[in-house]
């Protein structure tokens, strides 16, 4: 999935800066945001580049203002986005329920995860998974969640997020982490492109501003009408689940000894660790969900089907593991994790996976230190 789809010039910059280059290329015309580690540079890059490209950028007093302004800009017909960390996403939850879940406005939120509840750590985490994939707010609603593993994919998925948001009329989250945010890598992205406003009809069909409930006073008690809306949403989410789930598998073809399931930066570390695991005589593969919602259950299930052991790896106490559990029909055999904002080296990652494998298959225990 790191196919470079653009024909632009090669650049070298951090993930956070790449997000803004991608947004400009995607025809995003509005950015509102508030600084929060590790997403602050996205706001600063927008402040630097948006005005020169005829786009609007508002540094707001807080995340609540930012997300509401994004909703307003989207209602005005323009591609709009903000960027934050899970801490700020908490503040945006109500608005996302309203504007993605109810009003079905398109929008993009890039979320760079740092670990921990409260003020947390400044290091990378993946404990924003549940927050992002379970709708992040009240009510029955979902947002598409995309999980890049490197700066190029962060740029590509940011562009694609705007397309998906428009296609399905909802907010799309691009879920990165602190490593992706600050790592500087090569990437290619198209030149900035302007995009005319789309036509937005208030209170008419096409799914905006609850057309079925034009006059809330009249229909607040009309449970049949409300159910019709709910069923429409149910079908919308079912269609996304059917058509947009995405994953990438790499490593040895089946049958294998160990399947690792990981996403984002940790999946990239896992990828580098595969050769070290293989050196000890294990057949190993990695399946990496790229959409976290909809979760690519079928891809994970079929990768796990011919693996003796399934190990889930996360920078959290275990959130994606529950989705893996549901996908493969049983509790994954092993779980390796890191907390506190710490991410492992490839050596440590490989060692921990081997440890788990040895615990599970003592008769086939792999010996020897990982070099």
């Amino acid at each position: 999935m790191s196919t470079v789809t653009s024909t632009g010039t090669k650049r070298f910059a951090s993930g956070n800066e790449a997000v803004i280059d991608a947004a400009l290329a995607a025809g995003c015309h509005f950015f509102a945001g508030y600084p929060v580690t590790p997403a602050t540079e996205i706001l600063e890059a927008a402040a630097e580049k948006f005005p020169a490209n005829n786009r609007v950028i508002v540094p707001t007093e807080g995340e609540v203002a930012a997300i509401h302004m994004v909703a307003g800009a989207s209602l005005a017909g323009y591609r709009a986005m903000t960027a934050t960390a899970p801490l700020g996403l908490s503040l945006m939850s109500e608005a996302l329920s309203f504007f993605s879940g109810m009003t079905e406005l398109p929008g993009v939120v890039v979320v760079q995860q740092r670990w921990g509840p409260g003020d947390g750590s400044l290091g990378p985490g993946q404990d924003g998974y549940n927050q992002a994939t379970r709708g992040c707010g009240h009510g029955d609603f979902k947002m598409i969640v995309l999980a890049p593993k490197n700066v190029q994919e962060l740029a590509d998925l940011t562009v694609e997020a705007f397309d998906l948001a428009d296609r399905y009329s909802l907010f799309v989250l691009v879920l990165g982490d602190q490593l992706l945010a600050i790592a500087s890598e090569q990437y290619v992205v198209d030149e900035p492109a302007e995009r005319p406003a789309r036509d937005v009809e208030f209170g008419r069909n096409n799914g905006l501003v609850l057309p079925e409930l034009v006059a809330v006073d009249e229909t607040a008690g009309d449970f049949a009408a409300l159910e019709r809306v709910g069923r429409r949403w149910e079908q919308k989410y079912a269609a996304i689940e059917r058509d947009e789930a995405r994953a990438e598998r790499c490593g040895d073809p089946g049958p294998i000894d160990v399947l690792i399931v990981a996403y984002g930066s940790l999946a990239r570390i896992a990828e580098y660790a595969l050769s070290q695991i293989r050196e000890l005589g294990l057949r190993v593969a990695l399946v990496r969900p790229i959409t976290l919602w909809p979760f690519p259950a079928e891809a994970v299930r079929s990768a796990a089907h011919d693996s003796a052991v399934v190990v889930v790896a996360e920078l959290s106490m275990g959130q994606m593991i529950d989705d893996v559990d549901r996908a493969i029909g049983r509790r994954p055999d092993g779980f390796v994790n890191w907390l506190g904002g710490r991410a492992p080296s490839t050596e440590e990652f490989a060692e921990r996976v081997i440890e788990r494998y040895n615990e599970l298959k003592p008769d086939h225990a792999m010996k020897g230190a990982v070099t």
Binding site: T40, A47, I57, P59, D119
Partner: protein, 256 residues
């Protein structure tokens, strides 16, 4: 010779403060500690997220840090249930006047019996120096590379606005831009705690604090920036003192 001034070792322990050179926060912390050590029982402190949270390890009393901007309401809840304790919220301008503006407004409207110390350095410093509600017109920050322009509105006279509310018993603005200014910080903080003790209502001390790092100046230039620029928008002096029938000339109006 005898000692006529010495540092407050317990505030500085173990290795001094973590603020940038020339930052005003150290001076405020020393002044606050100087006031508190003369009390029988120290206040309970609530601290916002921002450069203020580097004060946490040095606060002269029990301290809790809460979500950004909500410090005043956290403090209010505590004070309502422990009215005999002095409660002090310490925030930056970003939290007090920006993200937490609604909370600050209603704390003042309700006349909560707490003391708020606001350190106003005209930027969101902790995250790298972005535009704040208090940034002066024309000032470059990391989110206003060409300077604060009309699209951002003028800087917000927040303390002036809050002082209109009868729940604000005492509001004073002081500036760390001279030795005299630093001394006024201590006096204002002491007065604010007296107001809290009297039960008259909310007491607020706003300290204009230099931020050489994000103002992109040296410490001396930062002092001058406060004297020559910041104070034209944010004048120092007692904004309101509802605890006295007549404020004296000494307290009222702008100094210097």
């Amino acid at each position: 010779m005898k000692v006529v001034a010495e540092p407050i070792a317990e505030a500085l322990a173990p290795h001094g403060f973590d603020f940038c050179p020339g930052c005003g926060y150290g001076s405020v912390l020393l002044a606050l500690t100087d006031v508190v050590r003369e009390m029988q029982e120290p206040p309970v402190f609530m601290v916002d997220i921002g450069c203020v949270d580097f004060m946490t390890a040095h606060m002269p009393g029990d301290v809790l840090m809460g979500p950004h901007g909500r410090t005043s309401v956290l403090a209010s809840g505590y004070k309502r249930m422990q009215p005999h304790r002095l409660v002090c919220a310490v925030q930056g301008d970003g939290g007090f006047m920006g993200l937490g503006a609604a909370e600050s407004l209603h704390t003042a409207a309700r006349g909560e019996q707490i003391t708020i110390i606001v350190l106003n350095n005209g930027v969101l410093a902790d995250t790298g120096g972005q535009l704040a509600a208090t940034t002066l017109a024309g000032k470059a920050t990391s989110t206003t590379p060409d300077g604060r322009g009309p699209q951002h509105g003028p800087p917000l006279p927040f303390l002036e606005m809050l002082s209109l509310l009868s729940g604000v018993a005492f509001a004073e603005r002081v500036a760390i831009d001279s030795a005299l200014g630093v001394r006024r910080v201590r006096r204002a903080i002491a007065k604010a705690f007296e107001v809290q003790r009297s039960g008259a209502g909310l007491s607020i001390v706003e300290v204009l604090s230099p931020c050489p790092t994000h103002w992109r100046m040296d410490s001396v230039q930062a002092w001058e920036y406060i004297t020559q620029s910041v104070r034209t928008v944010y004048p120092t002096g007692v904004l309101v003192d509802r605890t006295r029938v007549e404020a004296t000339a000494h307290d009222q109006g702008h100094d210097e």
